[in-house]
C-alpha cells in the first residue's frame, strides 16, 4: 500500500495505526484533521474536497519522503479524503512511528504543514445559511491583487 493515499471512504483509524506498528519504535504520533462546525464566523454544515489525484499522490509521496530524510524516521503515512464529508469526520490523518518521540512529532508536523500548502486539494465549505465557498479564494479575492 502506498505511503500517501486519497480515499472517498471514511478512514479506518485502527487499520491505519496497525500499518505503523513497529517493535523497534517507542513513539507513535498521529494527527487527525477533523471537519469543524465553524470557520471565520460562519456555521459550517459539511465540507467537500476536490482532489486532483495524479498530482496530489505524487506531491504527497514526495512530502513523506522528505519527512523521512529530514527527520530520520522510517515509518510515515498519510491519507486524505475526497468528496463530501460530515462534521467531525477525519479529513486527513498523518501517522509517524519512530524509536523516540522527538523526531516523530517533528515529522508529523512537517507532513501536515506541507500537505496544506502543496497538495492540489480544494475545500468547499457548505454553510447552514445555504451558501457555499471555496476556502482561501474568498480571502484572497478580498486581499487580492
Amino acid at each position: 500500500m502506498s505511503d500517501f493515499q486519497i480515499t472517498s471512504e471514511p478512514i479506518d483509524l485502527q487499520a491505519f495505526r496497525q500499518r505503523l506498528l513497529d517493535k523497534s519504535c517507542g513513539a507513535y504520533v498521529q494527527f487527525d484533521g477533523w471537519v469543524r462546525d465553524h470557520n471565520e464566523g460562519q456555521a459550517v454544515l459539511r465540507l467537500e474536497y476536490e482532489v486532483y489525484e495524479p498530482l496530489a499522490i505524487k506531491a504527497g509521496r514526495r512530502i513523506i519522503e522528505e519527512a523521512r530524510e529530514k527527520f530520520g524516521v522510517e515509518n510515515a503515512l498519510a491519507v486524505h479524503r475526497s468528496g463530501l464529508m460530515e462534521l467531525s469526520e477525519a479529513a486527513v490523518v498523518v501517522g509517524v512511528s519512530s524509536p523516540h518521540r522527538g523526531e516523530a512529532f517533528d515529522a508529523c508536523r512537517y507532513i501536515i504543514d506541507q500537505a496544506k500548502v502543496r497538495l492540489p486539494i480544494w475545500k468547499k465549505e457548505h454553510y447552514t445559511s445555504g451558501k457555499s465557498e471555496w476556502v482561501n479564494c474568498q480571502r484572497c479575492a478580498e486581499h487580492g491583487h
Binding site: E50, A59, I112, P120, N136
Partner: protein, 79 residues
C-alpha cells in the same frame, strides 16, 4: 500553438468549464492565464494560485510548447 487548459475548483466554476483547447501565442503560463481571463470574465487572479504543465508543478514563467496540457490551480486548501 495549440494547448489544452484545465481549470480546477473555483476556476472551473468561474469559467464554467473543466477543460478547453486554445490556440495561443502565450510564451508562459502567466501570459496564458491573462488570455484566459480575457475569455472568462469571472476568472480571478490570486497570488497563491499554482500551475502545472503536463502533470508536473511548474513556474509561472516556464516556457510553453505546442501540445502542452496546462493545469491552473486556485489557492489550495487541503487538510
Amino acid at each position: 500553438m495549440r494547448l489544452t487548459v484545465k481549470y480546477f475548483a473555483a476556476f472551473r466554476e468561474a469559467t464554467g468549464t473543466a477543460s478547453e483547447s486554445m490556440e495561443t501565442t502565450a510564451a508562459t503560463p502567466a501570459a496564458l492565464f491573462s488570455e484566459c481571463r480575457e475569455r472568462h470574465a469571472g476568472l480571478e487572479e490570486y497570488s497563491a494560485s499554482l500551475v502545472a504543465i503536463n502533470d508536473e508543478m511548474a513556474d509561472w514563467e516556464a516556457p510553453l510548447s505546442d501540445g502542452d496540457e496546462v493545469l491552473f490551480f486556485p489557492p489550495v486548501a487541503g487538510g
